[in-house]
Amino acid sequence: MIKREQQFKRALALLALVVLAFAGLGFRLMDLQVWRHDELARLAEKKTQQTSWRLAKRGDILDVNGNLLATSVSVKLVCADPSMIGGQQAVVAHALAPWLRMSEADLQQRLIPRIQKNSRGETITNGLHYVRLQKNVPEETWQQIQATMSQLKFGVDEKKLTKADRAFLRNLRLYAISAEPDQLRVYPNGPLAAHVLGFVGMLENTNHTSEVFGYDGIEKFFDDKLRGASGWRVSGMDSRKNELVTQRDENVKAQSGLNVVLTIDAAVQHILETTLTNAMTRHAPQSITGIVMRPRTGEILALASLPGFDPNDLRTINTNTGPDRVISDVMEPGSTFKTIVISGALNEHIISLNDTVFCENGLFHYAGITLHDSEGHHFGDLTVQQVLQKSSNIGASKIGIRLQAPKLYEYMTGFGLGAFTGIPLPHEVSAKNFVRPADKWGKYSIAQIPMGQGVAVTRLQMAMVMGAIANGGVLMRPMLVKELDDANGNVVQRYEPQSVRRVVTEATARDMVAALKTVVSKDGTAALAAITNYVVAGKTGTAQKVVDGKYANDRFVVSFLGFFPADNPQLCISVVMDSPKEGGHAFGGALCGPIFSEIGKRCASYLNIPPDLVPPPAGTPDVVASAQLPNNLPLR
């Protein structure tokens, strides 16, 4: 009986133990599955899932013929986990320093886990698990780094090590050095068209990768199109941190940015830049700019501003290279402005090309000021055509006075002065403050402005004025981008030439072309701008610079704007030089004329522009060639 009672008690105790054990397990189950569910689920997810970012390739920038002007290449951002390196920094640094192009000592320092105190005295372990070693490491180099790490020797017989030590070395080789995908913006032609293309900046993302953003030029203006959209992938990992494809939760593909196809022709741009570079060496100006465009469409084939820079190396950018002078600098146009005055007067039928203007023998007193024609010239009667040909300041002033201020202002704004041209580049200025309405002009402005003083423009605005004359009187919007393409080359958006307005009639434009042709003749101011086998029309400009509030006699902005073939214009070219070393002896025709001629000749050959001058038989002096005789001294 007692025995049975004991057995019952034992069974009861056992049952109590079992119940207690199950209660304990139940409690633990509740703790893990209910009370700490969220926290542990996050922890488990972190250990078994990874989110990898998929960078969108930034779109390329191409020239009109598909030549690559800017592209992005895949590179790696090499990082280290110092906590996995233990005391082997020296071995790892010795092996990797040559690949990472770093000094061994510097690399070794970076591989040491850092436990520091911040400004508030708190202990921080920044760099304990993650430290950046090198950016922009090419893919091939990263593969070499991986191979080097997998064969790393530590000078010990690993067979004699404990299991834990062997695992440590295995993890060091496999996981201590890692890489993240990154992009590097590359400009294959270096400084070519640098001011047009611009350059990019880098921002660090929250996921430690660099985000490229446009900082200047086309890179900035079309940043949202070029940028694309990053993708991501959330998937499970095995114990060796390999992705388990079957456990992919999210898989969003990166969308590449659009390619921007410019109207720029790399070959024409090269011709322009090499010619301007030579001129820079010869004349040592503060700066020199050039534009080559098609006047009928406004397509810009080349646009250069020197001194330039190499967008691959941002250290080459300084205050001299600055933003693009063609659109951001304002200058007094000088005699090229006479094109506007005479066009306006012809269009209003106030004058005709054969009308005579008395040029006061070189001295003209008006509203308390005395105007001069250029040094050594005392013109008497000149026809309107000759006023342009010889660039008479007094002749232009008198025509301006006859046109009257409101009409002159109307033509100035009609030709686009004081307004943005609409070129798709950042930093364009309108120079609106320098093109004041007629009612705000001074008493002698109407005599001064027609000769290109007291008004300021951008180089592009003046080039567009000349383009409008060449285009039969229709002002075009400058066109720099031809189309936007997707990564497969499909056209997403095409840009068409846009006319802004008709400024003068076709007849007026024809008269102007006839007059501008005479500028590039042996009696004109730009005989040196002639191009063999082509009839050139154009206008010189020599503007005094304002220094300390006064016109300086030794600092000039010289220019030549022209187009050819004159009666069927294919190219309009602008060359502007700021403060050449010739000082007071600098003239637009003498300095910029030959540069124009060289650019025109090379472009005509490259673009296969049919000549409009039949070459004379051998031995006969060429009409145009005779204009290049050294005795033909150019006038302002």
Partner: protein, 124 residues
């Protein structure tokens, strides 16, 4: 009676054994099939991953070759290479331009050419 019972008992034992065996085979087969399928899924996932990596590598190589091609076709580099070889743009004196005058053959010359072109002995 005993004989019959013996025979019946033997029949009953054989049947359940077969059924049990069949059931075991089904369960074991399902288990092996499940493991095999899991293994296949893992292997295929691995293959997909490897193929994706290969695709990325090929795309990268393609991009690299494209960049190399662009570099070789760059007008700037071509110009530099041409100048390195001592070549330079043709000077105006070296260019001979031919004027194109429209050709208007006389009637006589047209007939003469037609007859000259026709093989002898062949009627039109």
């Amino acid at each position: 009676m005993a004989k019959n019972r013996k025979n019946q008992a033997a029949a009953i034992r054989f049947g359940p054994a077969l059924k049990a065996l069949f059931l075991c085979l089904v369960i074991a087969g399902s288990a092996v099939g499940y493991v095999w399928q899991k293994s296949q899924v893992y292997q295929l996932g691995k293959q997909i991953r490897e193929t994706e990596l290969r695709l990325v590598q090929l795309e990268r190589n393609n991009q690299m070759l494209g960049d190399q091609l662009a570099d070789l076709r760059s007008p700037v580099k071509l110009d530099q290479r041409a100048r390195g070889l001592g070549l330079m743009p043709a000077q105006p004196g070296q260019v001979v331009r031919l004027s194109e005058t429209p050709f208007t053959p006389s009637e006589k010359s047209i007939y003469a050419r037609q007859f000259a072109a026709r093989p002898t002995g062949v009627s039109p």
